[in-house]
């Protein structure tokens, strides 16, 4: 009976480790801890980490009679597509990630999607709104955000309602997301009768917008839309203000949604941002926390209000959790089927994915709002939802005379 003890020991070890690994789901992704996307990507990470902590504190994801704790594995992608390619391969092959979240930005996600699809891994994308990636026949890619071509629609509608004769300039980062947004927005502006007088793309690492602002002024533009991500967008807003560009309406992508945007002071006043989520938007969630609960958890953990990028990070985890629970298993094919069938309202809004092969995974239910930085009675900057009319929490401040007596006298 000498063999009895080793076998018992081996059985115990197998049970311990086998059982242990079966109870953990590994979710892999990259974060731009360095490079130009650092600010936005860090906010997405915060949202995702908050979801993970909440799920684990609540006993994990319950599926098929088991509870799965969520484990994150992530690396710094340096805001670089080359690193994304290497690291997503590592996440899948070495770290054995069960599911993937996307990196931040459309450009990096397009690269990550090639690797995830090659390996048949489900990847939920938040912070990646460009549509093209979802038209390539991917089967395991699911988009949380409203697609890029709809980003500036509400801003242009709001502008037209205030001044149909506006002369619009588009100044935007030369990256895949911003190009996709502005190409669609230019066509939409012309369709609704706005006069597009100037359009120019700039390198995403631009810090001196003086020459472009001079061109905007020369074009006699009265409204400006564009930007890209946090670093360039916040700089553009600041320099438009210091150059007194005298525009009536300013709408920038992504950057003004970050709570850090308030750091640019008076330059932030009146800037609008197409937003995937704002605290004021009160969706009645079928699943997960309410917006107020999410914001409270976020504030308590990070001592800062959440941005829509943070909300997207949390919601991506929530939708994955829902699909795993619906599938009752972590089997990728069955979870993918559950994702295809998802039609869910969370605090982030409605989520539903296109299932046709030529646009599989594209977000088709989520809607956006237009937010604007305004001042409360004490003069403190705060974001308000100003469009659409049925969702607004404050009236749009218009016209905005940047740097003129109107602003100086405020």
């Amino acid at each position: 009976m000498r063999w009895r003890y080793p076998i018992t020991l081996a059985g115990l070890l197998l049970l311990l480790f086998g059982f242990g690994s079966a109870q953990t789901i590994t979710v892999g992704f990259t974060v731009s801890r360095t490079g130009s996307l650092n600010v936005d990507s860090s906010e997405q990470l915060r949202g995702a980490e908050l979801w993970r902590d909440k799920v684990n504190a609540d006993g994990g994801i319950k599926a098929g009679g088991k509870s799965y704790q969520v484990k994150f594995v992530n690396y710094d992608d340096e805001s670089s597509p080359q690193r994304v390619q290497q690291l997503y391969t590592r996440l899948i092959l070495q770290d054995k990630a069960n599911f993937l979240l996307s990196p931040y930005s459309s450009g990096l996600t397009a690269t990550a999607a090639i690797v995830s699809e090659q390996n048949g891994k489900i990847m939920i994308t938040s912070g990646a709104a460009e549509e093209k990636t979802y038209s390539l026949g991917n089967k395991y890619l699911f988009q949380m955000f409203t697609p890029a071509n709809e980003y500036l629609t509400s801003a242009l509608d709001a502008l037209k309602a205030k001044n149909a004769k506006s002369r619009v300039a588009f100044v935007y980062a030369d990256d895949s997301f911003s190009n996709a947004v502005v190409n669609a927005a230019k066509a939409y502006a012309q369709k609704i009768g706005l006069n597009v007088v100037f359009a120019e793309a700039y390198a995403p690492d631009t810090t001196d917008f003086g020459p472009i602002i001079d061109k905007v002024v020369s074009s006699k533009a009265t409204a400006l839309a564009g930007g890209g991500h946090y670093a360039d967008g916040s700089t553009l807003a600041r320099q438009l203000y210091s150059h007194k560009a005298n525009i009536e309406f300013l709408s920038l992508l992504v950057a003004p949604d970050s709570p850090q945007f308030v750091q640019i002071g008076d330059s932030a006043y009146g800037v609008t941002v197409p937003s995937q989520w704002e605290l004021q938007t009160t969706f009645r969630p079928q699943y997960g926390p309410t917006g107020a609960e999410f914001a409270k958890m976020y504030q308590s953990k990070y001592n800062a209000p959440p941005s829509y990028v943070s909300a997207g990070g949390y919601a991506a985890g929530l939708v994955l959790q829902h699909a795993i629970e619906q599938a009752g298993t972590v089997d990728p094919a069955r979870v993918a089927n559950a994702m295809n069938a998802t039609d869910l309202t969370t605090f982030f809004g409605q989520t539903k994915f296109a299932t046709a092969a030529n646009r599989h995974g594209l977000q088709i239910a989520h809607t956006m709002v237009l937010a604007q930085w305004q001042k409360d009675k004490s003069g403190k900057l705060e974001k308000q939802v100003v469009w659409p009319d049925n969702a607004k929490s404050a009236a749009l401040v218009f016209p905005l005379k940047q740097g003129s007596a109107v602003m100086a006298g405020r």
Binding site: T34, N38, Y202, G210, V217, S218, A231, T235, H243
Partner: protein, 285 residues
Amino acid sequence: MYGLLASMFDGLLIGCVYGLAAMGLSLVWGVMNVINLAHGVMIAFGMFGLYFLFTAYGINPYVLLLPVIIAGFVSGVVIYWVAVHRVIGRPILTSLLSTFAVNMILIGLGTTLWSTSPYNVAFSLPGITIGPYTFTGGHFAAAFSAVILALGLEAFLYYTRFGKAIRAVADNRDAAELMGISSARILMVAFGLGVALAAASGGLAATLFPFTVLSGGAYQLKSFVVTVLAGLGKPVGALVAGILLGLLEGAVTPFMAVSWIPLIEFVLFVMALVLFPKGIFGRTA
């Protein structure tokens, strides 16, 4: 037309900062035949130096340039003894590798300490508005400071004993040694001055634009163009070439996308090498 003039005037102002950034590179290159690839990161460290001093004391950032320059000089002396002194006189590739290593170490250190998130010196001066165009007070102050520093360096090199010794070592190191000049000490001071100028230009740029630890790279590239255009070892030449580069940027941007500027700059770089191998004002090292 007014747009072109406004753009060129903006270019002239920012060109002064380009010129100051290039002066340090030009000085080191001209005096010791070392292409300092850590020049860009020292510009970035100058930005951070000014930022932290401004955040701590909240006083006029142009006053804070002085401690930034002193810290830059001391850092330059340390870098000289650690990484440059032993490779002077060796093949150019050796000093390139050595200063590149310093560059990578400092970028790594800066990334760890400050990440690559953008920082911003929250200071502004009232600007001047002419018609629809506004020229910010920060640009005027930065241009003025750059010109003062450039003229100060020129005066130091031409009217002080130490400055003359630096020029003597640059002209003929062996002859200078025979005249009793300690070339090691002179080279150390020249390198320190080069880094101090880099830090000063970084400090001035920080008052105008947001920056990260990687921001020095763009100024380093412009510094190469300016140095080649001006010729080596001519500080005021570098300033003038910087202004020319700024004016060129200002002149072309009304007619084409700003993203074409780097292409135009490097075409100019190649043309200057072919047509004026000694630079517009200078001489070879």
